[in-house]
Structure formats: C-alpha cells, structure tokens
C-alpha cells in the first residue's frame, strides 16, 4: 500500500561508508609517519619503530554527500613480524604499500607485499603504492634510488594507484588516501567487522542517485 517517490526527487541524503585500510612495507619507510600526517597532520623526525599494529580512524568527505571512514591498521615493518601481516590485510578493503624512494631494496620488498596481497588478500582489494620520503630528494636529488618512472611503470603494470609522498612536508598524503576512497566501491557495504563488538559493521545507505562527482574536498 505504501509507495515511495520516484528516484531522483529526494535530496539531502548522505552516504557513509567504512573501510579497512592496512599499511605494509619494509621497516623504516615511513608507514606510521604517513598515518600520523594523514590523521593528525603532524610529523615527528624521530619515531620509534612500530611493534604491533597501531589502529586509528579517519573520516574524509569525498563530496557533499559522501563520507568515507577509514579504519587504519599501521603494521610493524620488521621482518620478524611478517608472518602476522595476514591478520591485518585479511578483510582489508584497501592497502597502502610503502617504500622509501632513497632505498632501492624497499621497493623490492614492496613488490613482495603487493604479490602477497594479490595472492592472499581480498580479491577486490584496492592497493596503492606510495614512494615516501620525497622531501629527501627535493633538496638532494642524488639521494634518489628509485626513479619515479620505474615505480610508476611497475604500478601501472600491477594495477596499483601510485603516489610519491612526503609525510614530512605532507605532499600527496591526502591525495593518496582520497584517491583510494574514490576507487572504493561506495555502493557496497563497508568492511565486515572482523572483531567482535564495537567497531565497524556499518551499513551503507546510498539514497542519492544523482551524487555530483565533485573533486576531493578540502578538508
């Protein structure tokens, strides 16, 4: 007996999506620093290495109607903890694989992570490759060990988003996360809640078919 109005007539509704994001990469490439910059807009020159997996959340607005909340798992990069990584990329909707553009070996490690993710993780996972410490090469170009073009070519081939970032100067940090958010399937539900109680389990409602695809917000 009840009828709804035709689509497109209702305005003002917003969609809210929640996604699990995991950061992977060799030790000391700046995973935690990227998160700290993104979440708190801060930078520490000296950070202790992460023992465990730090958990943070950050909500960003893609446009007037779309809000994306990231549940960020910042993992320990040390080899010793490598076997624990599946705990974090399991059920992840997106991953940021970080390397240090001044350390050639860190890209090899990143490639291993990408391979593992593509083999073991959720098959629809969105992976972004981030070459961090861009600030180091702007002042001393000779410090660069990995050419942008090489990494970019690899990223294209492997189907990854690619950014060179600096957690220190915040260059491309927000862009990195925003572009991931834009690639995520906003019409589907957010992550299944892998942990009992509390967080996650968000049902996404998208009621506005005519969402305007504005650029990223400036928040």
């Amino acid at each position: 007996m009840a009828a709804r109005g035709p689509a497109g007539t209702r305005g003002g509704s917003t969609r809210f999506a929640q996604f699990k994001l995991v950061l992977l990469g060799e030790s000391a490439v700046g995973k935690s620093s990227l998160v700290l910059r993104f979440v708190k807009d801060q930078f520490d020159d000296f950070r202790e290495s992460t023992i465990g997996a730090a958990f943070l959340t950050q909500t960003i607005s893609l446009d007037d109607n779309t809000t994306v909340k990231f549940e960020i798992w910042d993992t320990a990069g040390q080899e010793r903890y490598k076997s624990l990584a599946p705990m974090y990329y399991r059920n992840a909707n997106c991953a940021v694989v970080v390397y240090d553009i001044t350390q050639a070996s860190s890209l090899d490690k990143a490639k291993q992570w990408v391979k593992e993710l593509q083999r073991q993780a959720n098959e629809n996972i969105i992976i972004a490759l981030a070459g961090n410490k861009l600030d180091l090469v702007t002042s001393h170009p000779d410090k660069r060990a990995i050419q942008t073009a090489d990494a970019e070519a690899y990223a294209r081939e492997a189907g990854l988003l690619f950014f060179e970032t600096s957690a220190k100067t915040s260059e491309n940090v927000r862009e990195l996360f925003t572009s991931i958010a834009k690639k995520l399937p906003l019409d589907q539900a957010g992550p299944r809640n892998p942990r009992a109680g509390g967080r996650g389990g968000v049902e996404l409602r998208s009621e506005t078919p005519g969402t305007n695809a504005n650029g990223p917000c400036a928040c």
Partner: protein, 1043 residues
C-alpha cells in the same frame, strides 16, 4: 596490582559511562544535527492544495489547468475571498466571458473554464509544491466495477498525470502519485524545491465496503522538506449519505485512516529513523477531499432556494441557469429576501478578515471592530456571507469537531466564504441539484490543516481537563459542592488564557488577531521554528464539468531548510572532531617486561650475554635466556591501562606455520596472575580470557617456558626449530601489541642418534658448536668418532649399577632405606617408583641431564641429601628416556628387520635356548658394532642389577657361569656351554623372583630398545611382535645369570 583485574568487570561502570565518541553514521548524524542552526537558512514557499470530486465525469481533466494551476474560474461575487494574500489580481472580471456564454458553449471534450479569465490566485511557478487530491476518478457505482478496475487500470492515473504535467510549468518534478480506487493524490514540486524533499512515503487506507475496500478511504503522503519539516497530505473520500448513521460512518472512516496510516521510517542523512510515524507526528498536516459532511437540521430544498437567490443575483441577464432558477423560485412559498449585490462591493478584492466562525457558533462575545462594521459583508444581513454564516452552524463537520468525534484534535479550516461545493447540475454554475432528489447543498469538499502546535495545544487541553475532572471528583468526594463555582472562578480568572482555550476549542477559528500577519509560529519535531499562513481558501464556482466544484487553498510556509553546502562543511568539521576524539579516547595499555624472578638460580652464569634490566618496555620482548630440556622458566609482564578509558584486552590467535591459529607455541604457557595460576587447565582457559582494566589499574601476566617433547628437542638440537615467537596482545578498539618471545636452546643429548653421539667430544653435547640458525644440518663439530658407544649410555649404565650397589648397602645399614622389592620391575618400571611426584622427578631429572649434557660426573649431580633409592629411580628413568629418545634406537630399524627376517625363515623351529638366541642376536648385531656394543652394555647392566636386586643362591643353579657379567665376547662364548643343561629348580622362591624380575625388566626395556617401521598392525600382531622382542631381551637376561 593484579587483583583489580578480576573485579574490574563487575565494578559498577558508572564511573566510565562516558563512552568516547566514535564517528559512526549515527553519532555523526547526531552531532551534525546538534549544529543544525549553522547550516539551515529560512525558506519561504507556497503550497497549493486542490481538491475536487470529479464524479467520474468525462472532460473534467480539461478544466484542471484552468482552476488548479492558473487560478481561474473563481466568481468573486460568490467567493468572498476574504483571505487576500494569495490574490494577485484585484482587477474586475468584466472582460471575462459571461456565465451564459460559458454555459452555452459547454461541451464534454472541452474546458469549461470561462474565457478571458486571467486567474486571480497564485499559481504557475509561484507555487513551490502542488498537491492535488481527486475523488471519483473512476465510476464507483458498483462494488464489482470497483474491484474490477482499481487494481488493473492505470489509465486514470496516467490521464490525470498528463493533465497535471501539461498544466504546471515545465521542470516541476513528480514527488508522489498514488491511486486508491477513485482517490488519486499527486504531489509535484518546483525544480528548486524538489531536491530538498526526502523520505517520501505514501500510504493508502481503504475504509469502504467491508471496512477495507478503496471505494472510500484515504491516500496519504508524508514528505520531509529541507531535511527539517515533515508535511502530511491526506486526500480522503469519506462515506456519503445524510442519515445520522452515515455521519457516524464518516467519523469511523476518519478514525480508521488515522489508525491505519503508518509511514516508512524517515531517513536522516542516510540513516533510517527507528520509529515508524503516522498522522500526528508531522509538523504540518493537510486533510482534504470529499469529506461528505452535510448541513443538518434544515430542509434541503430551503437551502437550495435560499442559496439560489444569491446565485441568481450574480447572474447575467438571460442566462440559461437563471431562467431555470427563476422558474424554481417563482414556485417558492413565503417571503425570500433578495438582495442584489452592487458591483462596488463585489469588486472589493481586499476585504478585511472577519471572525465569521466566532459569530456563527455564538461562542464569542467579541464585538466586531467598528471600523470593519460597514465593510464586513457578514454584518450585512442580506449579503451572501451572512447567508453562509447562518448555514455554517448546521455544518456536520463543525458539530463532530465540537463533540470531539472527528477532526477535533487541532484541525483547522480557513473561513468559508464560498457557496457549498455540492451538488450542482453538471454544466451549470449556480444550479443546485435540480433532479428529483433535489439534494441539499452542502460543503462536502473541504481543506483542513493542522500544525504541530495545534495538536499539542489540543493534547494539553485534554490533559488539563482530565486533571480538572480528577480534582472535581476529589472535591465532590470530599463533599465540597462548590467545584463548579471554583471552575468558574478559574475560568474567569485569566481572560487571556480563556481566549487561548477558546481558540483551541474552535479549531476552524484560527485567524484571531496576532497570528494573522506573520503566520503562526510552530516548533517542528526537529526543533526548528516554522510558520504557516493560509493565503487563500476558495472554490472555483465557474468550473462546470462536475457536480462538485473544485476548491483550493494556498498556504505560505516559512521553514528552515538545510543548505547542502553548509551542511557538508559542518559535517566535515564534525567528522574531524569525532575522529580526533575517537583516536585520543581510544583505550590503550602499556606493557612492561618485569625483571626475571629466577635469574640467579637457574639462569646460571651461562645465561644471556646482556644483563636484563629491571624492567623494559615491550619493544625488546621477553628473553628467557638459555632453556634446557625439562627446565621450567618463567617471566612476568605487567600490563597497565595507561589510557583514559576502560580497556579490554586479550591475547589472540595468530596464524602459525603449521596452519593452525594459536595464541602461543606449545612450549609457552601464558596466564594472568591472580586468576588461575594454580591450575594448568584453568590457565589454559585463561589464556583466551579478556581482561578489563580501569584507567590506572594493572595486571600481571606470567609467561612460562617448558619443553618436554622429544620431537621438539630433536628439531631444536638440529636448529630446525627456534625458541622464538610473537604473542599478539589485542586491545579491544585499540592497537595490537606484539610481544617478542625468545630463548636460547641448550643442546641436549636426547633425541640424537648413536652415530651422532659416538662423535660427541669431551665436554658433552654442550661442547658442540651450536648449529647455525635454521641450517638443519647435523652437528658440525664432532666429525671424528670418539667412542665405541655413546658415552652417555656408558655413564648411565655405570651409574645405575653403582647406585644399585649403593641402595643395597643402604638397605642393609639403614632402617628407613628398605627397598620396594615386592615390585619386580623396580627401579625401571614406572609403577614401581617410590617417588611418584611428577614435578619432583622433573627437578631431579634436570640434575642428571645437566650433568650428562655438560659431561660432568653423574654421581655428583644430585644434591647429596637425596636418598640413594630416589637417585636410582631417577637415574633409571633418565636411562630409559635416553634410550627411548635415540633417533635410531639401540636395535635400529634395519637390525630388527634382519632379526625378524631370520625368525620368519625359521618358521616353527624357533630358537628356545637363551645361549643360542644370544649368539644369533649378537651375530646379527655385529653388522652395526656401535649398536652391538650399546646393546651389550645395556643388557649386561640389566643382568647385574637383576642379580643384585634378586640374588639367587649358587646352589639353586645346576650350572653356574663363572666370571664377571661384564660383557665380553669371552663370557658370551662360555655361556654357550649352558645350553642343554637342566633348568633351575622352579620351586625355589629366589629363582621365581629372579624370573619375575627378568621378565619385568625385559618388558620395560622392550619399548625403548627396539625400532621398527611403524606399520599399522592389528592388536594381536602387535602383541606377538612385542613378545618376540621381549623374548630376545629375556634371553640375554637369563643368559647373563652369573651367580
């Protein structure tokens, strides 16, 4: 420190009821809503509501554009238009087509709207929302037809949608449409308003035949405007008929519609509200349609004729209808006052408002404003308005409102300044039903409205009355008869309040002073201040195509609408704040590794190269130092809640190499201290337990390493396994902590092969260079053969023999050192041990193993105070453990295969003589000299021990074997001569005991000496196999009888 952990969960959580905010859609939406004032801006729109019973007349849709959208077809003389805001054109209607001409050209397929009419009320794109309620869009004369048509025929909806779409300005958006039988409700919104409308929900309620069919009932749509304001539109067709029973049915219909209308939950910013709303939850409601209320208590025909005097007065000369009316009026009896209205007053478009209803129901004592007096048509006894006012007190709708039977809870109506809308001859402007029935004209068609405030005031009043009644009853009960007087006093006490009550009581009397100009302020459910004002309420007398006249009302609605851009900005701010609060208010712990409690004693000088600090953070992890077989070592952690909120955490499973998720490796136990440390089983359960700590509280965790698994020992010896693991400590809603666990394996002589052991240099296995991490290769020093048999075996057998002598000596000298000789297996059989305490044995075994591994004297390894008996038992057990842990075994797989092969070959003629058996076995074993020697070491030791513990006097044996039992090929050769001699006397108790001891030793040793392919076999085969092996061992024991 630890005790708080247990009780914390039970502790009243009152202290921590403040749950840190998190950015969920709910909290986000709530926090955003709290700042709504920042993102809403006032909006002002016009809402036009039209209602028309088209009586299934053909061509009615042709008139829709004219009256509903363009505001045409109003006869100012017959519609007072006292509410004038919505009227744009004050000009005369002189150039409009005459009624006569209009009626004359009427055809079914053409619009009946008078030509030249430019329309005088707001329409077109001045209207934000158009709401049209139609009744009888299909012919409902029979129920069958109704059932046949209503669910199958989309044609009426399509026809009317087209008529409406064609007439409203382009760009207007259809918000909702629904047909229920003859009822049809459309809502269209302007291009700017449409996107701000959300949560549209339409519900149909049939109250007709059998109380459910749709020939009567309502179609209701709820919309939310600008994310702030709920509007409800009810288009209803109530039961018809003039009998009192019909009136009751109409009231029943209304009650049913109210009761059965439930909208879908409202979606606020994508989040569904959890309450289902109905009519009454809205901020503004509009109820319109053919409500079918009649005029009671007056002869129908009198009303017709009285009204037709007025319609006649407005007619152009020569009109067809007029002639007809004149004809009727001529027949009338009695005096009828006819007043022709002069054109001056007719063209007066901007008449002052009047409190017509106040006067008509006689409840008001207000005197009219003297300034209005002359101009007020209702004060002119001959005016149309005066006539209408005299009829309105007979209106059933007003009666039921007053009697609180229907529409009494806050519903209001604009002043009726127009002729009854029913029933006219189709095609005429002013001819009331000229058919046989001559139905009494009545205001069947109405547009009512109600604000949230109206309803609240009514509800408040009802509550007040109930209280007053209770008070009244109480007073009467107390015998006070002045209740009535008191009420009067109360009533008169405050004239203002009195007036307010009056207004609430007479809902249709809404336009009292003050509320008029600005519109009535209404606090909406969402807490905004909105205003509504009725601009126009009139009928379109000159629409001729139906027997009902259409009527419409224009409202001006002022409301606070959400501005999406502002809202999204606030939303971003709020999300940022919530994230910050969420991340800062996250539960968290600090893990501290405590100094080890057992460092000086068991760690020894060889422990880790770096001295442990008193306490460290968790980053360095837990270092157990050197860990040896059967060595228990524990470390302690303190976990403190260093966050500001209560924190729950637990050790969690993690993926392991073996594929099975587990919390900790098998060699590590983890338990929370003060909870279950006493029992292993509980500790295991405890491992999975969640612990909740309040801020500032802490709990201790004990980690204990213990290795008793020989297969793990083998892997550790070879470097295939490491004492290296990571525990994951997970804080609920917080981060994970990794706790690194490390230990250094102390090489053990257990779990090695004879081949390996004969290469172990002086200094024991500890002297071996530790294998490289993960190499898995064999010990890489000790490549040279140093011994003919494992020195550990030699030392152990020697120690057992020595201790045997010792215990016998002790038992002879000391009173309390008697031996458990009743058990033949002692000291090798597990059941025979006098010291059964497992952990006490473990500690004692550690002494022996430590001495073995570091090549120290076994005899000095025990603390001197231990009784020899215990020492012997422990030594015997370590011997068995050692032999059992040999990877190849003393009788290796290949040696056993050879033996077995020979036995199979012999078939039924098996060897029975012990000497023959020994010869044959030693012959086979000679293929592996190291094994051979080990075997001889072992068996001759057993013989000696047996003979010591179960001596048989010389005379008991017919033949004695002289010389030492110390194994040598010489002895064995000589023992062959025993063959064929008579067996010992069975009756001798010493001999019987000795045989029992031999049998028991053979039984215990069988399980550790032999190795064979682990082929699955039946129980019977297995027993036969064991018997064969035991026979061999027994033969050696018998063959070793030396005294």
């Amino acid at each position: 420190m630890a005790s708080s952990a247990r009780t914390s969960t039970d502790k009243a959580s009152a202290d921590f009821e403040h749950i840190p905010p998190t950015s969920s859609p709910q909290s986000l939406s709530k926090a955003v809503h709290a700042r709504r004032a920042e993102y809403t801006r006032p909006q002002k729109i016009r809402v036009k509501i039209g209602s028309w019973n088209v009586a299934a007349c053909p061509g009615t849709e042709k008139d829709l554009a004219g009256w509903f959208v363009e505001g045409k077809g109003i006869d100012k003389r017959l519609a007072g238009l006292q509410i004038a805001e919505g009227i744009e054109d004050n000009g005369s209607q002189e150039h409009i087509e005459s009624v006569d001409a209009q009626e004359a050209r009427r055809k079914k397929k053409e619009s009946t709207i008078p030509r030249g009419d430019e329309g005088i009320i707001a329409g077109g794109d001045e209207i934000g929302i158009y709401v049209l309620g139609l009744q009888e869009v299909v012919d409902l004369t029979s129920a069958r037809e109704y059932i046949g048509r209503v669910y199958t025929d989309p044609e009426p909806t399509a026809k009317w949608r087209k008529a409406l779409t064609d007439s409203i300005p382009p760009g207007y958006v259809l918000i909702s449409e629904q047909q229920l039988s003859g009822l049809l409700l459309f809502i269209f919104a302007s291009p700017t308003i449409a996107p701000t409308i959300s949560s549209v929900s339409t519900v149909s309620v049939g109250t007709g035949i059998m109380g459910y069919l749709g020939n009567k009932g309502a179609v209701t749509t709820r919309i939310v405007l600008g994310e702030t304001t709920r509007l409800v539109f009810v288009n209803s067709h109530l039961a018809s008929g003039t009998d009192p029973a019909h009136l009751d049915r109409r009231c029943w219909d209304v009650a049913q519609i109210l009761q059965r209308t439930h909208f879908e939950p409202i979606s606020w910013a994508g989040v569904l509200d959890d309450t289902q709303e109905g009519i009454g939850d809205e901020d503004f409601a509009f109820w319109f349609g053919d409500l079918n209320f009649r005029l009671d208590g007056l002869p129908g025909d009198d009303i017709r004729r009285l009204l037709m005097l007025h319609t006649k007065g407005e007619y152009d000369l020569g009109s067809k209808s007029r002639n007809k009316i004149d004809g009727e009026l001529d027949d009338a009896d009695g005096p009828i006052v006819i007043r022709s209205v002069d054109s001056d007053s007719d063209s007066e478009g901007d008449m002052p408002k009047t409190n017509t209803s106040d006067r008509s129901d006689g409840s008001s004592t207000d005197l009219p404003d003297p300034d209005d007096f002359i101009q007020d048509p209702s004060q002119d006894p001959a005016s149309l308005q005066a006539t209408l006012d005299s009829l309105l007190p007979h209106d059933q709708l007003r009666h039921v409102q007053k009697k609180r039977k229907a529409f009494h809870d806050g519903w209001r109506e604009g002043p009726i300044t127009f002729l009854p809308t029913y029933k006219y001859d189709v095609g005429s402007m002013g001819m009331f039903d000229s058919s046989e029935k001559k139905r009494a004209p009545s205001w069947c068609d109405r547009i009512l409205f109600r604000t949230r405030r109206d309803k609240a005031e009514y509800d408040g009043k009802v509550k007040e009355e109930a209280l007053a009644r209770i008070k009244d009853d109480e007073m009467k009960a107390r015998g006070i008869d002045h209740a009535g007087d008191d009420e009067d006093v109360l009533f008169d006490y405050n004239p203002d309040e009195d007036g307010a009550e009056e207004a609430a009581n007479n809902e249709y009397d809404e336009y009292d002073e003050g509320g008029d100009d600005a519109g009535q302020a209404v606090i909406t459910k969402e807490g905004f201040v909105d205003r509504i004002h009725l601009d126009v309420y009139t009928s379109h007398q000159r629409v001729l195509s139906s027997d009902h006249k259409p009527l419409d009302a224009v409202f001006t609605l002022e409301y606070d609408a959400v501005v999406p851009q502002l809202k999204s900005k606030i939303q971003q701010e709020v999300a940022r704040e919530l994230d910050r609060a969420e991340n800062e208010g996250r539960p968290g712990i600090t893990v501290v590794v405590d100094s080890s409690p057992d460092s000086p004693q068991t760690d020894g000088p060889s422990d880790g190269p770096t001295p442990r600090r008193v306490s460290t953070g968790s980053a360095e992890g837990v270092e157990f130092g050197h860990v040896a077989f059967l060595e228990r070592k524990s470390r302690s952690l303190t976990i403190a809640n260093t966050s500001a909120v209560h924190t729950t955490f637990a050790f969690v499973d993690k993926p392991s190499v073996s594929g099975e998720d587990r919390i900790a490796p098998p060699w590590l136990s983890v338990y929370f201290v003060g909870s279950a440390s006493d029992e292993d089983e509980r500790a295991k359960k405890d491992l999975k337990r969640e612990v909740t700590l309040e801020p500032g509280d802490a709990v201790n965790v004990t980690l204990e390493v213990f290795i008793d698994d020989i297969s793990l020992v083998k892997e550790l010896n070879q470097g295939k396994a490491q004492l290296d693991d990571v525990l994951v400590l997970r804080v609920t809603d917080g981060r994970d902590h990794f706790l690194s666990i490390r230990g250094t394996w102390q090489q053990s002589c257990l779990g090695r092969s004879i081949d390996e052991l004969i290469r172990v240099p002086e200094g024991g296995v500890r002297a071996l260079r530790p294998p490289r991490h993960g190499s898995g290769a064999h010990v890489n020093r000790g490549s040279e053969v140093c011994w003919s048999a494992p020195r550990e075996l030699f030392k152990l057998t020697e120690a057992v023999e020595l201790l045997t002598d010792r215990v016998i000596a002790d038992s002879n000298m000391l009173d309390n050192a008697h031996l458990p000789l009743e058990a033949p297996g002692w000291p090798f059989s597990e059941h025979s041990w006098t010291l059964q305490d497992k952990s006490a044995r473990e500690t004692r075994k550690r002494f022996v193993l430590e001495a073995l591994d570091s090549d120290k004297s076994l005899n000095d390894s025990f603390p001197p105070e231990l009784p020899s008996r215990e020492k012997l038992e422990i030594m015997a057990e370590v011997l068995l453990l050692f032999i059992g842990s040999l990877t190849d075994g003393i009788i290796s797989e290949s040696l056993w295969t050879s033996l077995d092969h020979d036995m199979v070959a012999r078939g039924t003629k098996q060897l029975t003589d012990p000497e023959e058996i020994k010869t044959w076995v030693l012959d086979v074993l000679s293929a592996a000299p190291n094994h051979n020697i080990s075997f001889v070491f072992l068996t001759s030791m057993l013989c000696r021990v047996a003979s010591e513990l179960a001596p048989v006097p010389k005379f008991s044996w017919k033949e004695q074997v002289a010389g030492s039992a110390r194994s040598s090929m010489e002895t064995m050769r000589r023992s062959l001569s025993w063959k064929g001699k008579a067996p010992p006397l069975p009756s001798d108790p010493g001999v019987v005991r000795r045989q029992a001891v031999e049998k028991a030793y053979a039984e215990v040793l069988t399980s550790v000496v032999f190795r064979a392919p682990a082929a699955p076999m039946k129980e019977k085969e297995r027993r036969a196999l064991e018997e064969k092996r035991r026979d061999i061992l027994e033969a050696f024991l018998k063959g070793g009888r030396d005294t």
